[in-house]
Amino acid sequence: MLAAKQLKYNIGNKRILDNISVNFLPGTCNLIIGPNGSGKSTLIKLLSGALENFEGEVNYDGVNLKTFNKQTLASCRAVLSQQTELSFPMLVEEVVLLGRNPHFEFNPNKKDIAIVHEVISLLDLNDFIKRNYQSLSGGEKQRVHYARVLAQIWDRPNRAHRYLFLDEPLNNLDIYYQQLFLSIAVKLLNETTTLIGVVHDINIALRYADQLFFLKDGALIENGVPEKIVNAILLKNVFNIETQVIVHPSTGKPVVIF
């Protein structure tokens, strides 16, 4: 379990996150949603260990995040960021192989290479293996990074727990790949895998989330199972828009219409 206790984070005098305590359970898809500037990405950065000068505690299965060795953490926790650029020419397979960094000393072994090929197939990138990463479109680049991130935590020695963070990764993607990204993430879920993500599209979030977390002005407004918490009043409160919440005819999940 990933547990956050009383997280507070300031930039200068501005409070970015205000006293957030929250638990994320293995095997669940946890999606964070909220307006721009509500602290979603900051929360992901705190939980994943990218930012360290915060108040409060983040524990991975009871172990304080700040005590982790960076490489040990990297072998069980991966983060897919919004946008990652490369200034130098690299082949797609080389970029994906970078994800295996925490697992080998200087040269990758056969297992690393096999995992790279597995995730490349999973993301439909077989035709791109020998392509220069820089020549790809925005969406293709994001698929390469997703493959890299999956390669990072693909195998779990001794069935150790693993954590996948998605930090607004869907922005450059069309609807097909938005769905593919989340359905791949959801398929990985099991008793040892925790998924925590930030998405912008409320209906995508409603479709895939087991637990939804509403952030506003750095505070956690509401969290829980989507069917139970999502309604027009909450959405008005968080996003300041008029909506109607209806039930999807086949999935039975809530759908928001504007």
């Binding site: 990218a50 960076k70 960021s81 200034s87 690299m90 080389e94 970078l98 925490p102 000393e105 040269n107």
Partner: protein, 346 residues
């Protein structure tokens, strides 16, 4: 399509050996391979050299060519390291103040040595210019590094901007020293600023060689982490790299080897730009291949450039920096144009 690694490295090595032999053979005096072998044989048997050609070979040509090869390797690897660190292909080793600082330190010796205490000068002996250059290079780099440091972090953009300012200060210092120097010394500053291998000695070869081997090996051990850093500092952190530690060690290694080389041969511009750029086109951006390939190609190209410096205006000699600049400056402009739209990468 990329060339096969084994073939590429073998080809590069063979070419390097051929260029080294050619560089030894051609010059104001021509030396035949048989004379080279005879000189080496006499040296091994501790016999005196039999001819003036053997002496030219042992005392002038061989140390010069070796120093040139080592310096080429240092500058090229330094280019790879700095570009990897800054994630920008337009970065030159001298950019973070090292070269300008080293030039300033050396120019102080050239202009002000009459006023220095004789004890001090005797004490340092042949190390006088290198020590001042090294102090200047290290001082300038440290200033850039600490001024750009903000909240325990060093970001690339302030580093580049402060680097520009410190470079300007260093070059003004060189200008001042040139201005107050008397004629013959002034000329040697100019010469120093464009680089030369004419004063190469065995002492310099061994000193630079040892520093180069240590520094390049340390850098090579970090090659995998440098690869991850290509994704940016945040992503590298997510992948388990301790970014600040890596940056500090690479900066120190880079400063040490560039300062030492610069102190003996002057500022040679653009080598750190040309070699990595060509190699990335040929073999890609994997630092585990790029660093060893840069050693070979840096040595090869600078040796060629030095041959040009010696032969083009023979019997007179051109500063080698002019040749590297003629080739490098247009490439620099090309790279600037090509990457100017990628400013947000910084």
């Amino acid at each position: 399509m990329r060339p096969n690694n084994k073939i590429f490295f073998s080809l590069l090595s063979v070419l390097l050996v051929l260029v080294l032999i050619a560089a030894i053979a051609f010059g104001a005096v021509r030396i035949l391979p048989s004379e080279m072998l005879a000189a080496i044989e006499h040296w091994f048997k501790l016999e005196p050299s039999k001819s003036i050609y053997e002496n030219v070979f042992l005392q002038l040509r061989l140390p010069r060519v070796l120093l040139c090869a080592i310096t080429g390797a240092i500058l090229a690897v330094s280019g790879v390291l700095m570009q990897g660190l800054f994630r920008n292909p337009v970065v030159e080793p001298g950019l973070i103040g090292t070269s300008a600082g080293a030039a300033f330190g050396a120019s102080i010796v050239f202009s002000l040595s009459p006023f220095m205490s004789p004890i001090f000068k005797t004490l340092l002996g042949p190390f006088l210019v290198p020590v001042f250059a090294f102090a200047g290079g290290l001082g300038a780099t440290f200033m850039v590094y600490s001024l750009a440091k903000n909240n325990k972090r060093v970001s690339i953009l302030p580093l580049l901007l402060v680097g520009m300012a410190i470079n300007a200060i260093g070059l003004s210092g060189v200008g001042l020293m040139t201005y107050i120097a008397r004629d013959p010394q002034a000329r040697s500053i100019t010469f120093w600023n464009l680089g030369t291998f004419s004063g190469a000695s065995w002492f310099q070869v061994f000193f630079t060689g040892i520093v180069a081997i240590i520094c390049i090996l340390i850098a090579f051990k970090q090659a995998k982490k440098l690869n991850v850093l290509l994704l940016g500092e945040q992503e590298a952190g997510y992948l388990g790299v301790e970014v600040n530690k890596l940056k500090t060690s690479i900066l120190i290694v880079n400063t040490a080897m560039v300062s030492v080389a610069t102190s003996f041969v002057g500022v040679i511009a653009f080598m750190g730009l040309i070699v990595p750029h060509v190699l990335r086109l040929l073999i890609g951006s994997d630092n585990r291949k790029l660093i060893p390939a840069s050693v070979l190609m840096g040595a090869l190209l600078l040796t060629l450039a030095d041959m040009g410096a010696r032969l083009l205006l023979a019997p007179a000699e051109m500063p080698i920096g002019i040749i590297t600049s003629i080739v490098g400056a247009p490439l620099y402009i090309f790279l600037l144009k090509k990457y100017q739209f990628n400013q947000n990468d910084l």
